[in-house]
Symmetry: C2
Subunit: 206 residues, 2 copies
């Protein structure tokens, strides 16, 4: 069995990736859910066609949102100079500093209530992002959900300024996207029986 | 074209639903994203096999979570007496009061920080829920994300008590599930060009 780094492995990987990009839009939903993973490796030099970027973001647009308010908006970054400036902000994260494009998920800085006293912008943004992750996977690309880092050292505002966000909007999540140079997989998950039960919390398996 | 309520419409709907349940696990991810919708109608009497409920929740388990902490847990309600008691709590919502099963998504009442001072339990729970919604869709069932209502009049605590949640856990989202008796569709979404742009927020189409 070829190992990562070997030429044969790269060859197999290339075939798999190209097949996914060509036929990926037929990927079934359970397969996409299983294959989706947080990709922290490097990306290849391959650029992403705008048609694919649009399709990926359209998946986010179709996500549910509290009271259908659709509070998340998206800036798709593919201009080489802008890509370069964002890459430089996170040199320790391989995916962030080699991405060919980014999808920036934007919400209100001070969200208004939409149901009683509640607003659901974090939920809205998260579901949109999950749809985007699945679409990225189905089309043979990879990405990783970057979130906490944006809140440190004003990264959200620094990138927000590059993307000309208005003062009342804030960058909540950013997704570096590209063709993965390495093959990664979904990390292990806690088994079903330790996270899910029938009828009563933490009940014995039925 | 048959209209909702007419026998011919019901016939077509039955065929579509049965086909989806039989072949739905082959549904491609973009189709599932497009077909997913908030179903607020009535459900039929058809019970859900545990195999399907497990598969649906497994999709939630495979969702990403902040620092892979997998903070959401799930209680799947299919015991007739429990189903009946939950139905009675929301008589005005057709989906809630005719569901054949529920999936309760549970988080910590006081989530600990996992990255700097931040925690991501709302994000975790939302992405898990989105995966669940897509799995529900792919298998030919329907559901609706019930969230704000749980926070009113102690509904979360009332249901939490029925499900034997420990004191430090809280019911964040509940999903009533069944075979839809009516055919609904995803509500209209704001067009791409009004929610997404290339390179700069609210920039002209490129």
């Amino acid at each position: 069995m070829p190992m990562p780094g070997q030429a044969a492995y790269r060859g197999i990987h290339l075939i798999v990736t190209v097949s996914m990009i060509r036929f990926g839009n037929k990927m079934n939903v359970f397969e996409a859910i299983e294959k989706r993973h947080s990709y922290r490796g490097a990306f290849t030099d391959q650029l992403l066609p705008r048609q694919d970027l649009r399709r990926i973001v359209q998946a986010g647009i179709q996500a549910p949102s509290g009271c259908n308010k659709q509070t998340t908006s998206f800036v798709i970054v593919d201009e080489p100079e802008l890509v370069q400036r964002i890459r430089q902000l996170h040199p320790r994260n391989q995916a962030m500093c080699t991405a060919q494009a980014y999808i920036a998920c934007v919400v209100d800085r001070n969200p208004p209530a939409v149901y009683a006293d509640y607003q659901f912008q974090v939920e809205d943004c998260s579901t949109a992002t999950e749809n985007i992750l699945l679409a990225v996977t189905a089309l043979g690309y990879a990405t990783v959900w970057i979130d906490g880092w944006l809140r440190l050292e004003n990264h959200a505002d620094a990138i927000g300024e590059l993307l000309a966000l208005p003062q009342d909007k804030i960058l909540r999540i950013i997704l570096p996207i590209g063709v993965p140079a390495e093959m990664h997989m979904q990390r292990d998950k806690i088994p079903f029986d330790q996270r899910a039960w029938f009828n009563r919390y933490n009940s014995l398996g039925e």
